[in-house]
Symmetry: C2
Subunit: 214 residues, 2 copies
């Protein structure tokens, strides 16, 4: 069993909402236990450079609160805000959803296309996947809009398939919140990678490494 | 359950030896089933450019034999010989131990050092980890020598720790064969990444993605 701190970069009131990503991780990795926290005063989350920079300042503070009660920390945002800073400050492994998604996409091979909520690909994906093709979901300004836009998400995925992609990476953890991966796979038959599950995979890899050590 | 073809790049006579990496993967990922094959006429495996090029020619041939009875293929060598060629030729995901090891090391963060059996870091690790520090195990010419050199492996790991590394990546699947990761972790208390287990992790990530799709 491994305890993982899950830091949400959106301010949420309901406990159930704060814990949504953690519960998703626990459902696929029953050996992980999630402890979820969210940053304050960002009701729309991270959707541009300014909100990313703000989140990067708040994430380390929140991480220090839980550092001693977890074995690893996930920053549950594809922009990985504060991940580099956190690594210098805390003693447990720090995992960003963006890095995780990129790592798994690369390791699987294939031609990866990214669906985004912003004009452009989040930096961790851009750097690791070498400027991949991308498509913004039409009519979306922040992660909160996604739940009304499932049809537009499917259209973005279809656009990327037509451009020759055979792997779809969901470039915002808001796609995990609305649980859209199964729908895309069912409708379009393509490999779809969910960023929250990807971060769970990376922490699970750490658990497996620990098992290897005996 | 996912069936995974495990291609060994060393010619082995005993079935038990051919299946060693596959069994290691099954032991950590009970939902994976390994089907193991080894290339012919390379009793010392891959240990320089020439033997790597030879293996890269043989791997696709072997892969085509098992392509229709597996859901994914692992090339169980940190040099990833034939992986790029295979991806163009077969319809199932192809996973190289080198890429997998690098992906997991990067996603975990930390300062990675590589223990090698050759003078230099295998290309997949060099490319993805940005010329990491490395140390060759003294007195080793091929993977077969490793089983007599556990003390020298520990010395190589110690050398990397003194250089400031806090993650050890085992840069040859021969380290998996002798099961040295637990010994290094026990003796030096450092994070150690096993390349065969890493490739299993990546295939397991694919299985998890399939579960996500429902």
């Amino acid at each position: 069993m491994l305890r993982v701190g899950v830091i949400r970069v959106i301010s949420l009131k309901e406990r159930e909402e704060v814990e949504r990503h953690g519960k998703l991780i626990e459902s696929f990795f029953p050996e992980l236990r999630a402890i979820s926290k969210c940053i304050q005063d960002q009701p729309h989350g991270v959707y541009d450079e300014e909100t990313e920079a703000l989140a990067a300042l708040k994430v380390p503070r929140l991480a220090r609160e839980i550092e001693n009660s977890v074995d690893a920390i996930i920053v549950s945002c594809v922009a990985d805000p504060g991940v580099a800073e956190l690594r210098r400050e805390v003693s447990v492994p720090v995992v960003g959803s963006g890095e995780s998604l990129a790592s798994i996409a690369r390791a699987l091979g294939g031609k990866v296309g990214v669906i985004t909520i912003t004009d452009g690909v989040p930096r961790p994906l851009r750097e690791r996947l070498g400027d991949p093709p991308w498509k913004k979901v039409a009519g979306v300004c922040s992660t909160l809009d996604l739940k009304w836009k499932k049809e537009a998400v499917l259209q973005a995925a279809e656009h990327l398939l037509k451009e020759g992609c055979n792997v779809i990476a969901l470039g915002c953890t808001g796609f995990s919140t609305i649980g859209i991966a199964p729908l895309i796979h069912r409708e379009l038959g393509v490999v779809v990678l969910d960023p929250v599950v990807a971060s769970g995979s990376v922490v699970y890899n750490l658990l497996v490494s620990k098992k290897v050590w005996g």
